[in-house]
Amino acid sequence: MFDSLSGRLERLGASLRSRGRLSDADLAEALAEVRSALLEADVELSVVRAFLDAVAERVRGENVSQSLTPGQHVIKAVHEQLVEVLGGSALKVTYASRPPTVVLLAGLQGAGKTTTAAKLAAWFKQQGRQPYLVGTDLQRPAAVEQLRVLAAQIGVEVYSDNSDPVTVARTGVAEALRLGRDVVIIDTAGRLAIDEALMAEVRAISAATSPHYTFLVIDAVTGQDAVHTARAFHESLELSGVVVTKLDYDARGGAVLSARGVVGRPVVFASTGEKLADFDLFHPDRMASRILGMGDIMSLIEQAERSMDPEAMAESAQRMMSGAFTLDDFMAQLNQIRKMGSLGGLMRLMPGMTRDMREAAKNVDDGQLNKIEAIIRSMTRHERRDPSIIDGSRRSRIARGSGSSVTAVNQLLKQFDQMKKMMKQMGSGSTPQLPGAMGKMAQMAARGAAARGESLPAGFEALASGMKSGAPTAAPAGGAKGKKKKGGRVTPPKQR
């Protein structure tokens, strides 16, 4: 989301790097750049000013370190301030001593409350809780219906009736208690902060259910108005935090900073895609790193942890490094990856990615993955194990069977082959501790970070050291070569 901001800061860094000491004029120029970058990212004007003041103070207050160029110094100050603004007083979600824990969602029309309610329920379910959804949006046609459809996908029940929002909320909580559910998520109708009647209604819902958490759901592409909305809802409801949606939309997301700046409440959850899995706790420090283009390997690890079978993966990793990697393994992993969420979202988290690669990844969708899968599925078992037997006539058969072209089949085979060779080389080659390309990627990222004068994101080092201990333990698993143990059988709830 903050792509353009990080890009600008990088360019800014480049222009300042060539100069000697940071004069007042340079600082002013740098801050002007930061200002328009923030404004273009939709950060609210007062928040921008407060932010710039704080950055200026940081830059002036600190001793200029010998190892940093003036440009890096400014970037560092911006980074620190971002972490502070985004991260101060983070909220840890705890549960009520007397269940159910009640969560109330409020926000403008179209911010994504209903989808967020379902995603939040899925999240709680993953935490081992038994969520229950209450739909009080009796206003928008078919809103409750939308909630029911989404809830059915994650296997959560919904309560709603046709009385009135306050009664529905009260009855819903009582019903959750009766059913022994321990988390209740109340979805409310979208409303404008200046609509007195509707704000009174949501206050009444809040009074009737005394929620433990009240979250404002806010759209990441909101402009200057974000502060008015956040402030008005905060005054009415005493927000405990903010859920930001549609973070995958674009380079903006200034609304996050604005809302954070004006209500002083943390952003708790972030939604980054259309899939129900594209939702997680908001991590300010990681976001700050992402703003500056450093990737976010910790989030990636967590997403992986939730959705894959590490034993099966380690086994095929072993085969990969020994050169016995087959198209079957490839398919199994493809399915694992699909379970983790959208490709574009995953790519954004990877460190060491170039802008072009990210751009390309944005446009990869399930359709294209389906195509790859179709090609592989159109091969016989023999062919999948040993692609080298695929001759001209087999190729055209595969192309016909998968509804693609011979060129596409060729390309897939060629690239698979290259990749396989590369992996084998790396598996036995120069960086024995790090599995192949990952090692290279780590080096790339390290170089990039060094060039920027930043230390590696903490998570990355953890990963690198984790790998060192991980690779040797994987070695004995090599004996299990021929055994086929496929992960990735479970397909995520179908959405599109």
């Binding site: 007062s46 407060a50 179209g110 046609p141 433990h212 759209d219 402009g223 490839f330 995953l346 599995p435």
Partner: protein, 349 residues
Amino acid sequence: MIVVWIVLALVVVVIALALVMRSRRRRATVGAAPAPRAAMPEVLVTQVAPRPEIDDSPGLDRRLASSRTIFDRVRTITSVGALTKEQLDVVEEVLLRSDVGVRTTSALLEELRSHGAPAGVASAIRESLMSSLSGDRSVRTSADEGRVPVWLFVGVNGVGKTTTIGKLAWRETQAGRSVVLAAGDTFRAAAADQLQLWADRTGADIVRADEGADPGSVIHDALGRAQARHADLVLADTAGRRANSTNLLDELAKIRRVADRGPGQVVETFMVLDATTGQNALSQAQEFLAAAHVTGIVLTKLDGTARGGIVVAIERELGIPVKFVGVGERAMDLLAFEPIAFVDSLLSA
């Protein structure tokens, strides 16, 4: 086939992650005796911290308070002729706060600086804003002989496309036209139900299909029905989509092609835009313009505190005029766009 590379790269990373996780797990199991998974305790944490007071960081508060009056200040600048730096700053702030955007604001300021303000600042800004909003706002309701006119609605998620269609259906049926609604949003859960309710309310005809159906086929069917029943207008809904995904935009381009062939003729493509949207609206407009030949904007949710100033930038840079504005939830809360009223609301409030 860069896709393959990306997938392979991810495969490598994911495998690496698997190794990390496995080693972590190993370490955990080797070290400690296998701790039995504790049953979920009744009480995890009681609400420890009392709910904190409303945070009123004084500096910010004062700043915000001052921002409310700044709109008045621009009107009180009565000086004539060249503008001082302070005056330009006030104008800049007003424009930025209305989401007009950095680039357009600087351009407008440049105009002000060079032209001066012979009749006062307020009227000078109004004039340059008005000249930015000079596009053709007529709405086409008729197609070529024998073809059915189609209005296509595009936009990102949650801007109010379906509601806008409902309101326009009401408006058009009130005007005596027979309308067919095409429930082309087959992705969002219950979107068709929502449109169905509008159809029931307005008496418009509706063509819908199951969730997950091909939107193109829904629109195709709607065209068939419209032709058979000699309807005057087809309003075609589409699923909300990110404007930065080529695939979703390609799909949209395809939908438009379907709507524009055979009996159908797309006479208007409306991009529905939420007034609270900030600078992202510009890239939305750019992408939708390229993919679906947007001919007009419907600016929704203008009844809130948001000013929707970004449409000035959109019209200046891309030449897409705003044609309707949404100002409430009732069927009649959709109005033709009035540049003068809009500019005044940007500068006042």
